[in-house]
């Protein structure tokens, strides 16, 4: 599993049907949420941003958590694939976090009355985005792949403490952002006809992440292993 050629073959076989499934789940969730779920008693239709905002915020945080885990594996076992995971996942995590920040601002203007406020939840999410940007920048400034992997792993391990802080910020401090509606541990504070489309959107976002990640990993594997015999054989068979 940990060897790049094995993962490459496995991902290539899986992706042709995994990607369409992911896209369908996401589309179904979004259409259900935006088109068919009931509107909110207080916010009207503005609340529908939740179907993009909450899944992308969840992804932004859990991708960082995954990167910290793979970063530790990369630091301890020097596993090549773990480093490639970090490099491929960082831009995706940054994008999801940015989507969460922007969609949150768009929702905040009509409901709170402001685009942005420096409360604990919003500020810590912005820090998460900067951590991603830092990792991406580090990669592009270090030419040696192995050294880049290790530097990025180190940042991801050091920075991972931001994830529980984001999660708990609304409980620890007084913030403008409301406590979470959606969590695995307690029953949701929304009715089931809103909760199910949201759940499908979250699953869809996770699936989309996995299929995008596998695609990026395949490119990364081919680029890094371009001088090995198995890649040459693979490319010869392709042509």
């Amino acid at each position: 599993m940990g060897s790049p050629p094995f993962f490459f073959k496995w991902a290539s076989r899986l992706l042709p049907w995994f990607s369409p499934i992911s896209f369908s789940i996401l589309i179904i969730g979004l259409i259900w949420g935006v088109g068919f779920a009931p509107s909110d008693y207080k916010q009207g239709d503005v609340y529908r941003i939740i179907f993009v905002h909450v899944p992308s915020a969840i992804l932004g945080q859990s991708i960082y958590l995954m990167m910290a885990i793979f970063g530790s594996i990369c630091l301890i076992w020097r596993a090549k694939l773990a480093g490639m995971f970090l490099r491929s996942a960082a831009p995706l995590g940054a994008s999801f976090t940015l989507i969460a920040l922007i969609s949150g601002a768009v929702w905040g203007k009509p409901t709170w009355g402001t685009w942005w406020v420096w409360d604990a939840r919003l500020t810590s999410t912005l820090i998460l985005f900067f951590l991603y940007v830092g990792i991406i920048g580090l990669y592009s400034s270090i030419d040696n792949k192995q050294k880049g992997d290790r530097a990025a792993s180190l940042i991801s391990v050091v920075g991972v403490i931001i994830v529980p802080i984001i999660k708990k910020s609304v409980d620890w401090w007084q913030t403008l952002h409301q406590p979470s509606t959606f969590s695995i541990t307690s029953s949701p504070s929304m009715t089931s006809d809103m909760y199910f489309p949201l759940l499908i959107c979250v699953i869809g976002f996770y699936f989309i992440f996995v299929s995008l990640l596998c695609n990026r990993l395949r490119v990364e594997i081919l680029t890094r292993e371009r001088n090995t015999t198995w890649v040459k054989e693979y490319l010869n068979n392709k042509v």
Partner: protein, 141 residues
């Protein structure tokens, strides 16, 4: 696990624990300043000087909203269920502003102990429901 990897594992764990403890200590020290707003009882206790800009948050008291007929001026009271604070504001309110809903205000306290706000933000709670459900919930009350 071979000794080298074991050693690296300890290094990674100590990096993680070190930063976690450092960050948590920082946040513990800053915890009061990280709060976005004060509650009315904190403000009344602290005797804040007139003219200092602060944020205060609480729930709009039922039946306390008073609007002037010919201008955008209004006054209302907010409460944290211990103390009340009188607010004056002139301007446009966010859509979610209503009685018995949370607000966060930015402004100054004047010499009479009235809070003059120049920014009103509505705080939303984590509950979402369709209008019909909200109606039945209200009838049950």
């Amino acid at each position: 696990m071979n000794p080298l990897r074991k050693q690296r594992l300890y290094v990674v764990l100590s990096i993680f624990l070190g930063t976690a403890i450092a960050v948590l200590l920082v946040f513990q020290g800053l915890s009061k300043s990280i709060n976005l707003f004060y509650s009315p009882s904190e403000i009344l206790k602290a005797q804040i000087e007139a003219g200092t800009e602060i944020r205060v948050g609480g729930m709009v008291k039922k039946g306390s909203v008073y609007r002037e007929t010919n201008s955008l001026k209004l006054s209302f009271e907010i409460t944290d269920f211990e103390e009340d604070l009188v607010i004056e504001y002139e301007g446009i309110l966010p859509d979610l502003f209503s009685e018995e809903a949370g607000v966060v205000l930015k402004g100054t306290i004047n010499s009479k102990g009235v809070f003059v706000a120049h920014e009103v933000l509505a705080k939303h709670d984590e509950n979402y429901m369709p209008p019909e459900v909200a109606k039945t919930l209200k009838q049950k009350k």
